[in-house]
Amino acid sequence: MNAAGRRWIVRLGPLLGLAGVVAFFAVLIGSPERYLSATNLRVILAQTVIVALGAIGMTVIMVSGGIDLSVGSSIALTGVVAAVALRGGSPPAAALALGIAAGGAVGAVNGLAITGLRIVPFIATLGMLGIARGAAKYLANQQTVNVPATWINELAVTVPARRWLLVAPGVWITAILAAAMSLVLTRTVFGRHVFALGSNEAAARACGIATGRLKIWIYAMAGLFFGLAGVLQMSRLRQGDPTVAAGAELDVIAAVVIGGGSLSGGEGSIGGAMIGALIMAVLRNGCQQMGWSSYVEEIIIGAIIVLAVAADRYRISRSAEPA
């Protein structure tokens, strides 16, 4: 097979995986029409949104060779920020903007710590994992923050109030943002510089790319996506919960990795990460439909992550041409 053909197989890998998982559960559950019903698909998509939004930001970070462990805490903090704003009487749009901006601020601080203090991303964002979680609890006074009913609560519902939307507005927002960011990563100077940074930082610097400033932008921009994910999380729960999304960063990283992203940078795509997020949501949903305990689900998802990366390595080693 020629190189282009092999590349297509590499690209289609995650999609084939998704189709496999869907087919597996459709057969196992025994009633494909119920499993593949519009209602169940809506449930799956609504469940995917938060991980998917996080995965958009995380893809940019991981392509640049970085990592962000503070995603779960950021989601909690930004959800609480938006909830506190709503409770205080802010208009919903302002609360939404505030939540997103809080995410961007957390990301910018991560970027500044990484470039200014020269801390590796793993450690800098591990610190932020604690700081943001603590800040969320402080802001929420260690309680959940109840919010008045606004249109924000409609963003992440399973069945949208306006039926012609078919799926929740949050799903559309995520899809549009994913498409936009995919273009940004592949077609803009910024996007290619992100790839260059993750592929060979020394080369990027030698070509005059301001790598420090670029990193701050990357983490801040990813933070905006985590902020939006936080607001949608709050919208789903209809309250700001400072303890929510603990460990969500691992789901988000797993989505990116299943979609072909590499922890060593230079590789990854938004489309792949979206499929990765869907694979995990389908697995969760399938396990629940089967009535399996959550521990089964955890074991399966853990195994899938390892297998997906192993399959990826195998494909790459098969398709690699001699250097």
């Binding site: 077609r187 790839f195 260059a196 080369a203 070509c207 790319i209 301001a210 230079g266 001699p322």
Partner: protein
Amino acid sequence: MALLELSGIEKRFGATAALSGVTLTIQPGEIRALVGENGAGKSTLVAILSGAFAPDAGRMRLAGEPYAPRDAADARRSGVACIHQELCLCPHLSVAENILLGIEPASGGWISRRRALARAAALLSEFGRGEIDPGRRVGSLALPDRQIVEICRALACDARLLLMDEPTSTLQRSNVDRLFRLMRQLRERGIAILYISHFLEEVREIAGTYTILRDGQSVDSGELASVGDGGLIAGMVGRQLQSTLARGTAPAAPGEPLLEVRDLASPPRLRSVSFELHRGEILGIAGLIGSGRTDLLRALFGLSPATGRLRWRGEDLPAAGLESSRQIRRGLGYLSEDRKAEGLALGLSIADNVTLSRFSTCARRGWIHLREQRKQTEDVLGLLRVRTPGVRSRVLRLSGGNQQKVALGRLLHQDPDLLLLDEPARGIDVGSKNDIYREIGRMAERGKAILMVSSYLPELLSLCHRIAVMSRGRLSPARPASEWTQDSILQAAIGS
């Protein structure tokens, strides 16, 4: 008017003076060789010229204008481009993206792919390499093609001055020729090149003028045609070296056979290799990079799967299923050509690196005896004349030449019967080379056998007793070094 004029350039890092008075001029269309031992300040000078940091004192003028680049981007805009020792490309990006990295044709931040591909294709075809697809991933290109990409990148920003730091150290001869053709093309176009290399033959071939750096100072410069190698080396080391590159002679009494190899193969590169190696003998392996030379050493050390038969100290060994940990115990030692990735644990101390293969000599019940480790390390370092701040300092901080000595020092400490050496003296300064040659010779005198791969023919011809040439995975019969010449080796290697 001179393109680049430097005078009195100084640079200090803390207490050490990296540069203490460099004066240098280059005219447009001139190729000037910058030579000097490792640590003489060549890399610092390149870093200053390419904008990595500013000099503490001195004057820099580019085409008559004061030149003070703030960073790499600024230097590039001024027309000064650097081609690095280790290729500096992004393997995940396409050829076009690498060539135009940092200067992408774009409007409002959106890259024009069509213009980028066209620009890259135009640059590639200027060098007669239009067949390289600008959309291809750089990671899938062969090494010499990557170098073309790197040069095209330098030219994409209309470079007037190219800084080339050891561009040939990883190239085989045919690609060196190709590179030199490129450099001559560049010279015709009025581009000036500052060319750094340890290979004096190559320097003579490509450069017209030279500047010698020693201990951070420019001590001599002039026309290469009017100076001999001895004069250049004397200028670099500051003393007249006795030429260690005399012709090799057979060992006084060839010892008993240590290793016999029959039909060793390790696909895809190593096809069929047979030879014998005696105690006290240095067998040189010449050949092009990729001809299977490295694969031979790796197969013998159990790092690559292989087939065939070995006879080691009279004991038959199938070549399949060898393991490096057992080969070490049998008395084989391996020095990789890739010092940074395989030869050394860069983050560990000198002492840990030297004793790594045989901790047992300085450990009791699993506990490392620090005083003993220090003593043994200092003994080895003394043999190789390594200058260090102390055996507990990290290998990372040593110069390239001293790192290579530490890597070889690990083998000396291991004290194997057979040393498998892959490019033991590549890319290091003349003084360090001589120290390494001397120690290899001494090991042979002590009855060790040495199998040594090298691309540097004068080194093979002078150091080895016998030489065999690898060509496309097959090894020629080994003949005494005195029966070979550089030409005949090259011919055997090319297989003509």
